[in-house]
Symmetry: D2
Subunit: 364 residues, 4 copies
């Protein structure tokens, strides 16, 4: 966790801007001998890829990943496996239209990182917001696909649980529905409403926020490194690092503030296999920073896309007042494509803590 590197033992370092020749990442610390090909990664990238429906940006990025290092084809088995050395993943940028950004070259888009990057670095890379572009998240998804392979027996799934002011109905939850609608909604009944809502926003040149939920099942109990690399802390850190995220919670999250101790207690009973069974999961699978073996449940809030067609008041580089509207091809609800990104970040944290826990305790 430092500048552009995430993780303790299983580490991802990302690089690249939306309007340079390519983006990529280096995945370091991966265990050796794990089967890995581009095909293992591409499916996850395709879920995040722009242009999958009319509800996401119409940029056309192929987002084809290449593995440039860290794998070797075993001649006996014919399988390509990880070698334990750095896995370099690279994705070419193919659809950059820098001219889309000409109008905003000297203007700071409110809510966007334009101003804060400029005030920090003194350089204004206006092309697709440079390093602050969400394009960087493609690397996370690619690295997350590698992380999943380190975690056999763990299932990580995400879903959109609120779009703008419209939440799903929890009773309708169906994991099977998630990939069958353009919003990754687990509630098939909310889909048409969300579609209409988003269409109306797009027409008025506006955008909306969202809430995403990520659930990891089959996580070995014991993962987590208290006090300052708690499992929920690192999950929270991972999700907050995603562009436009403004809040993160674990288990019952903010709602626990309104509960009493008796209501919030996740009672335990002996299970059939000797392991305890929990009668509820307010904790979201993590207590004291350590996994209990229950499903890990995290949610994060994504603010509305700040690149909108509606003009808003701002200032320019010279400090003069002006208005700005963004003509680029932007997502009306970036929260949608944040679903596979959230899953990837969860996978990265769990793989990292799997190795950390094994290192310290010898378990796993």
């Amino acid at each position: 966790m430092s500048h552009n590197t995430f993780g303790h033992l299983f580490r991802m370092t990302t690089w690249g801007e939306s309007h340079g020749p390519a983006i990529g990442c280096v995945v370091d610390g991966c265990p050796p001998g794990i089967p890995l090909t581009e095909a293992d990664i591409q499916g996850f990238l395709d879920k995040r890829k722009p242009g999958q429906s009319r509800y996401t940006t119409q940029r056309k990025e192929a987002d084809e990943v290449a593995i440039l290092s860290g794998v070797f084809t075993d001649e006996e088995t014919g399988k390509q496996v990880t070698t334990g050395t750095p896995i370099a993943l690279e994705i070419q940028n193919t659809d950059q239209r820098s001219k889309d950004y000409g109008d905003i070259k000297d203007k700071f888009r409110p809510g966007h990182a334009d101003y804060s990057y400029f005030v920090k670095y003194g350089v204004r890379d206006y092309r697709g917001s440079g390093r602050a572009s969400a394009r960087e998240t493609a690397c996370r998804v690619a690295a997350g696909a590698v992380a999943r392979k380190v975690l056999p027996g763990v299932t990580i799934r995400g879903a959109l649980v609120q779009m703008g002011p419209h939440p799903i109905t929890r009773e309708n939850w169906d994991w099977g529905a998630v990939d069958e609608n353009p919003f990754f909604s687990p509630d098939p009944k909310v889909v048409s409403n969300w579609g209409e809502y988003l269409d109306s926003l797009r027409k008025e040149g506006n955008s909306c926020g969202a809430v995403i939920e990520v659930v990891a099942e089959g996580v070995p109990p014991g993962l987590g490194a208290p006090i300052y690399a708690k499992l929920d802390q690192d999950i929270c850190s991972a999700l907050m690092s995603i562009n436009a995220v403004k809040g993160v919670e674990i288990g019952s999250g903010f709602a626990t503030a309104a509960l009493t101790g008796t209501e919030n207690a996740d009672r335990m009973r002996p299970g059939d296999d000797g392991e305890p069974v929990f009668l509820s999961n307010h904790a979201g699978g993590v207590v004291g920073g350590i996994a209990t073996g229950q499903p890990i449940v995290a949610r994060f809030a994504v603010k509305p896309t700040s690149s909108i067609l509606t003009p808003v008041e701002t200032v320019d580089k010279a400090g003069k007042e002006t208005d700005v509207s963004t003509k680029g091809r932007h997502d009306p609800c970036v929260g949608i494509r944040a679903v596979p990104i959230g899953e990837a970040m969860m996978a990265l944290v769990l793989a990292d803590h799997f190795l950390l826990h094994r290192g310290q305790t010898g378990k796993g």
Copy 2:
């Protein structure tokens, strides 16, 4: 950020359990030449100290800090200043009653870290929950006091904005009121209600959650190290590392999910001094992971104390079912004492990023 160390350049490493002889921390990376005495730290510890009112635990800990290293008295000025080397802070444990814990020696308290620590480490340190005890947070408060001295011109204040299901009324906000009531409430009108609510919970052997808000003003724009040491990411990580925290948000947080892009935009206008003025602060002072110069606003949710008198179903070390109730002297609402802890974590993150930013850019 690794095991028991927090921070990149300005780092705190904490150690100790509630029922050992002492607890302490090492603050490393502090700039030299900063005036520092025990008195600079003690005031903040006193705010967190148990037994300050009938609404917090009745344990009697003096919580007196000693500076064991890293300072030197300049003979010319007579001032004690930091030397740039590690500052060791130590607090003796004076009121340990291990026998309070005899009853729960072999039982896992639901919601508590008993089970998860045991499943991770295979050791059951039942005395005051060992390392998982919130007593560790005294070290954070002490280190946070040092961090504040690295940040002249920055004001960091916290307040309790919700107790159980009862929020403050934002219109009544008065920073002056915070230290004048036992709850750190910024709304003087809610105090008596909160008192009655907490009294009734205590009588029934129950507890409640809370929400705390921390605000930092005067933060230099530019602090923050994208992509994986974003300022808001590190603040959230810091707050999530506090015992019992289940959710964290920045600025308008989860509420932004329900906003549109036009509503959420923090419009900018030219200011008198050449710096832009923001017309709102939905962002909470951080955009793209970098401080804009606006106040940084973070909130975190604390779950109800899991150590309660009311018996709840659980299992013991042998895996047999039983009930557990905790007779120790516990806080009915740990959220109250979390206020100075939240402030301290904010201070630690800001001091750390102040040094990081200065290192990379030469500014500050």
Copy 3:
């Protein structure tokens, strides 16, 4: 300093094998606004490039570097500058002859990393020794060129001071000679002897070791972060990480063991500008882990190339005894090409400590 990442604040992460499609690195934490083009880097790569004379390997690698991210062309000045975000550098592999390695596919070359990598990772990447190949050092040289630009006023130069058993004569030292002979020798009079020695070794299918000296002048006093990131410690760590290095020393190094305290004392006298002048430099510019302002002098010993034509006894993957000789195009004295690598590592450490020192103290 962790797996494939070097540095605290100015960090390089390298990836790639000699026989994959490419190698590269990510330079993170670089200050913004520094002019940087491929041309700034290429000259240093050319010094390390194979095939520059008959005394180095005859592989033909173009070693052309591409900057894939982290720079932006300022339209007003027309200059390409760093943005403060990760700088990805990439070099295509163009001359891989895996068939050269067919013979040794299942054999462990003594002194080579074949066996130790296999025993660690369980994968035998026999192609050019995979990740253990010195080809990785091209990335160090590229990153080192960026590091130099962070350090204006600092001059970093290296030279070969011993080849096999033949040292230079120190009285002949002439920095101007270093680039005028194929051995980077600062002593022009030793060149013909070294040439003859190396020719005879090549003919007999043998190799030799070497000692390299690196000197940094103009280093600001104060760089260094005691106790565990001492400047000389990090320099030694950097140099020891280079392939085939077996020893490192600072200043008078191992020779100080034989000196007395009076002999070894670097006496100080007042200088014209108020700064002290040292009458000798046994310390090599670093005392207590902190730079004094004197030239920093480090030396490192490189063992003889282990890939030799002469057959030596070994075992194969199946554990059976066999002989191995290496037919690839190898350097008879890898120490020669280690000169620019040593310079690069020195530059990386100094740039890193320049930022660390500025971060903690505000100086520089």
Copy 4:
């Protein structure tokens, strides 16, 4: 490895000055369930303790270690074991005579860290050289004793192999002799000569350097994390971090520069148990940064003590020329007491890499 913290997963953070109330360290990341008492540590501290013979400083430090956290007495076994949480070790300073330093308060002792610390931090802590004092190494020895317990089956031993210009005779090597003479010499025949040499130096108010060798046997093959946490790199870094060390080498070290490839090759033959047997150990047990299973052999050179009675030219804080002689009770040959320190640093690196290797590969 950062400021005052050493290690990746098994980490030691030290604090304290020679003339403060105490020194100490925090050992973090230790596996749980390891039996550990003060007695396990004290024996190693006693080896390093001053005043053990007339050949070391006559300061009287009891150097009694207290374990303040991270252990728990299992009631069933009655054994005190590590809990997996931070182990705080503390040693009181009992024999500080700051007045010994009054004379040198404003003078910079050549070869000492006085000047470099002052130029870095702007604070002159003249009492026993503050943080630069070798007293800090007591913490390393204490932490190293914990590290040894993480490594069952590994034997780590050190010895003095050269005092001033007088090396041992290798043929006389007898590990049993090391603890039977005041110099940790493995060559009993050199002891009387060394004694006379040191006596004469003490009489003339002078000092001398030394070379120490540390050998680790039974190290599991595979330890080491290429490319930038190579096992030999980290050993080198660990040893260079010790006060007064000016050079480090592994295996045949600097001597390999003068060897040919055929001479330096550590030939391999099949062993009885299927593991290869090496016919020599020029590599010193590490190839490509990874342990081969052979004994790890490292040597380091310690310069002569810079605190000497003989006056030498220097400058004072005001920049004026003066002479300085040091009247404190100093070691005429600090290399002697560096033996247990070198062993401790070796233990710390090996324990750390044992956990790192287990984390990444699951082995060990």
